[in-house]
Symmetry: C2
Subunit: 317 residues, 2 copies
């Protein structure tokens, strides 16, 4: 038995996650799914978006399949995703972006940088501390180098021409790349966001700090036809959490028009996490065949609904 | 007499700035140009990239035309552009991006945020302080609202779902937009970097903090065919500084292949700064006609050299 915690979350999480879950269930009858409620909806109802009991439930699972949660910029509210990433120490956010002629994996540091949570007000200014630690940089660099060694090379995305904290980050990444014998280059994040669009074929594994990875992966989403396509894995030494890169998209929620591919592909990453490459490939192929038949959700120019897309994928399996 | 300080800087600055200068000289015989040397080249030769005498020279000018400087991530070296932006208090970095069906102006706060320069090492970590002040936010918000009032609407690019410092930034921008009667919306910077690519026609004036503006403008450069096309103005209450968005590009320097359009267009922004809309339009038209004839530098798929492109523009004038 493999126990999978399922968090639909808010908005379109309630639509895309059931699709991903049924696809996983179809290939893995041994998966036992259990629901965990977190998010803004729960917060509105109960006053708590996620408590220590929830975190314990998530810890008890062999893996977590997560939808999306709504994060209002309400000073009293702390993003659930950030809390979970922190509490489960999910330090590596892995975001593959693939398309015609390119195959990129963005490896985003997921626990520090501008997400330190160290913030304060003083007189007329508000401050946020960007923290780059040697330990935090080294573990994400190692993770990226392990990937890059199985693939081609490494790009270190940074802004060391302005940020001394990135001088440290780049130093550590260089050390790890050299130790692993991985060819590498460094690129400033602004130039990298443009160059990944102009020459996606030039990139393979990209490692970068937290908020730069956040921005870079959305930007690269353009290459894949939008956020509806992009899966991600948040991995630590003990826990593994899979979620689409997109958010809860309240503007399109409840209409059965959200693209479930990002969620299904997050399920594929979950399968690979259990070394189940056979089923991972089968699901990927089923998605590919469905798209090839012209079955698409509206964001891809089609007219198929979220549920119906899921049913089409199940038929291909 | 209008006195224009000319800083070629490093790399392709030595190639594109002479072109922009000769175009400006052709339409404005009253411009008196004088050279100011700053940058990495000067630093290597004299040990100083820019000193108080240089800053005084720049201050003495009616406007500054700037190329690009090389910024190595050398701990002992501070970027000259950053020093000048700081010393001249050039708080608004204005970056227009135009193309088929869209006309966007990115208004980037240019003096604080992650560029505060407040950085330190402690035990195993390196810290950079992101500072958002009420005063700094208000003056950039006003600048953006003034622009937006003459145009259509305002988008406030931020990451207030994670950064409390951006809660302040968004608050102030809202206040100013409401006061000015400018329609506005807020967008998270990651989603904005993707959406500007997917739907550039939906954007008009975008105001954002320093490093987000840095990344967003390079990303948007994709829409305009790359950085070779993008001009910028760095404006304060007393000084005005015009530079292409691109860097010194050491990899292509000295080959007469750099695209001088960004530099020429920075000159156009300089002309508009002096309310010389007639000549500004004339130069823009000359660039357009040159491109329409198929005369292009290699980055745009052509074979024309930097100097030759400049000569072609001069012939159109
Ligand atoms: C929702 C938000 C807190 C989150 C982030 O900033 O990491 C999201 O943008 C992401 O990329 O997962
Ligand atoms: C060279 C660098 C310091 C600069 C910046 O980060 O502002 C550049 O990227 C820019 O956009 O003008």
């Amino acid at each position: 038995m493999v126990r999978i915690a399922v968090v639909e979350g808010d908005g379109i999480g309630h639509e895309v996650i059931p699709v991903a879950r049924s696809v996983l269930g179809a290939v893995r009858p041994d998966f036992e799914f259990f629901d965990v409620e977190v998010g803004y909806g729960r917060w509105e109802r109960t006053g708590s978006a996620c408590d220590s009991g929830t975190i314990a439930d998530l810890r008890s699972a062999d893996a977590i399949l997560f939808g999306a949660v709504t994060t209002p910029p309400d000073p009293g509210y702390r993003s659930v995703v950030l809390q979970i990433r922190h509490d489960l120490d999910l330090y590596a956010n892995i975001r593959p972006v693939r398309g015609e002629g390119f195959n990129i994996v963005i490896v985003r540091e997921n626990t520090e940088g501008l997400y330190s949570g160290i913030e304060w007000r003083e007189s007329d200014r508000a401050c946020t501390l960007r923290v780059i630690s040697e330990k935090g940089s080294r573990r994400i660099a190692r993770c990226a180098c392990t990937l890059a060694r199985q693939r081609r090379h490494l790009t270190i995305g940074n802004k060391a021409n302005v940020l001394k904290s990135d001088v440290l980050f780049v130093d550590i990444c260089r050390q790890e790349a050299e130790r692993a014998g991985v060819p590498y280059e460094t690129r400033y994040i602004d130039a990298l966001c443009l160059d990944i669009l102009m020459h996606p074929d030039r990139y393979d594994v990209i490692v970068t700090t937290n908020i730069f990875g956040d921005i870079l992966s959305d930007t690269a989403g353009y290459l894949a036809g939008g956020l509806g396509m992009l899966p991600s894995a948040n991995i630590g030494d003990r826990y593994a959490f899979f979620e689409p890169v997109h958010g809860s998209a309240p503007d399109i929620a409840g209409q059965n028009i959200a693209n479930p591919i990002a969620a299904i592909r997050s399920g594929v990453m979950l399968l690979r996490h259990f070394d189940d490459t056979g089923n991972a490939a089968a699901v990927e192929e089923a998605v590919g065949k469905t798209l090839a038949k012209g079955i698409r959700t509206p964001d891809l120019g089609g007219t198929t609904g979220t549920r119906e897309f899921g049913e089409a994928v199940l038929r291909e399996l």
